[in-house]
Symmetry: C2
Subunit: 292 residues, 2 copies
């Protein structure tokens, strides 16, 4: 089968054998923002020469702005419920069997809805591995997700605008104009995490980035690390206080930052490879009993 | 005398009589960002024809990026201490007596410094009016200030990036792209304030702006009002819980928004005209016993 992870800015294709092992992979920058609606053409170009009949896709390709909107499955949900929500896509332009994975939605205690599209497939790869009991799974990024997993099912989750807020403040705010590019400064990052643990509004703590620079408590090369620690630390304040094991699914640099922030707030965490989407798509196709 | 309020984006000049009453006023867009270091030239052009010898200036003109840096006065401070920190500016190009008002600094309970430049002069106009006891004075804006006033002196204060965060999210984030311009929607604003009162990270509540739109709980024309309520409500969570009278110094629209948010969190507040800088400069010049 062919597994596709199709997001806003890029897409990745994996060719899998019958046991779900990767035999090949390709990458394209034709994410939703660049594909401009030419979904069939982009897909055929990317997987040209791979003669597998089954193509299963996850990510924003199944959103309202994607190829076809697939309704969200409501949490709590595990691999079976998510597989049951998969939709077949009929396309005259593609001579293959095309399937889309649904996103996942939930409603928080205040009645505010939350959504994910793509991360549910990464989580599907992890669910069978976690075993029974309660786990907290973090998927850091532009829109960071915290999922609570109970007995192999996603019970509920929350999204945090951590990555996007860092980017807009870095690029467009007064704080960003004071910063210079530099490698991560571990001490300044830890100071930001520590500041986030204290009382007070994030809106006030953000202004502290400026005043600490003004009074030479932080160098321009440390400001981005401090801001990153402050935002990630703020996000981690919402982590369930109970002692469920914590898991982080992220690429190396981001995983390092989260593990160090988690250690600082007294939590140990297990690191998992970011690249679990292909595995999740394989498990979903198998749960749905699609012909491979 | 001539009173000057010289900020980053604009400056205002007021001609005052011996009793501090305005006899004339002028305005220019040559704030620090546009003046490009031509301070003497910009000033002389703006006050051309006014023959008063004394010119007293407040705002970013006294910052490191301004005409001359005036060291911060450390809070607690009242009119006398701020007047004592005023500095005379010698300029061969200007045949007048030029004075700059210092900014105010303080250190919060976590050791983080905070600063204001310009707002201390607005506060100086209000201090003699407030009388004895404890008062909370809010100066909303790009960088919103909360000052605690005790017996006519500014004891300490905090800055919140409320206005700047609204602007960068409106203009540069995914949330902003979902919004359409519309007048303030009072119901959506109140919902945002109510959301801010609940537990949970602002980073999560911000993502709720997106999901509420996605699930049609809010219309595109309501999103900016909801976001504004969410940010202002978050800022107000840091307001001292005790029952000190609350005062708001702001222009009409912003004062309306803050008074409505304050009412929603159970606080009544007194509104004061935004345009108090000229009065503050007059009181500071008098306290310093400058020749008028």
């Amino acid at each position: 089968m062919i597994a596709i992870d199709w997001g806003s800015s890029s897409l990745r294709a994996f060719r899998l054998d019958r046991d779900g092992h990767r035999v090949d992979s390709r990458r394209s920058d034709q994410g939703l923002l660049n594909a401009d609606g030419r979904f069939a053409e982009v897909l055929e170009t990317l997987i040209d020469g791979w003669d597998d009949a089954l193509v299963v896709m996850a990510g924003m390709v199944g959103s309202r702005q994607g190829w076809m909107e697939v309704p969200y499955v409501q949490a709590p949900a595990g691999v079976q419920e998510i597989a049951a929500g998969m939709c077949r896509l009929q396309s005259a332009a593609v001579q293959r069997e095309l399937w889309l994975v649904p996103g996942l939605s939930c409603v928080d205690v205040h009645g505010t809805p939350d959504v994910m599209r793509g991360e549910e497939t990464q989580l599907c790869a992890l669910l069978p591995v976690l075993g029974p009991g309660r786990h907290a799974v973090l998927l850091p990024g532009t829109h960071s997700k915290h999922a609570r997993v109970v007995d192999g099912r996603i019970e509920r989750f929350s999204t945090f605008m951590t990555g996007e807020l860092f980017a807009v403040l870095r690029q467009h705010s007064l704080l960003g104009r004071m910063m210079v590019d530099a490698p991560l400064d571990a001490a300044a990052f830890a100071e930001g995490v520590a500041m986030a643990e204290r009382d007070g509004s994030l809106l006030h703590q953000l202004f502290g980035v400026r005043t600490r620079a003004l009074f030479d408590q932080l160098l321009p090369a440390q400001l981005a690390s401090y801001l990153s620690g402050l935002l990630i630390g703020n996000e981690l304040q919402d982590l369930d206080a109970h002692s469920a094991p914590v898991h982080v699914i992220a690429a190396d640099g981001l995983a390092d930052a989260y593990l160090s922030a988690l250690a600082r707030v007294g939590r140990t965490a297990t690191r998992h490879a970011e690249d679990t989407v292909a595995r999740g798509l394989y498990l979903l196709a198998r749960a749905r009993e699609l012909p491979m």
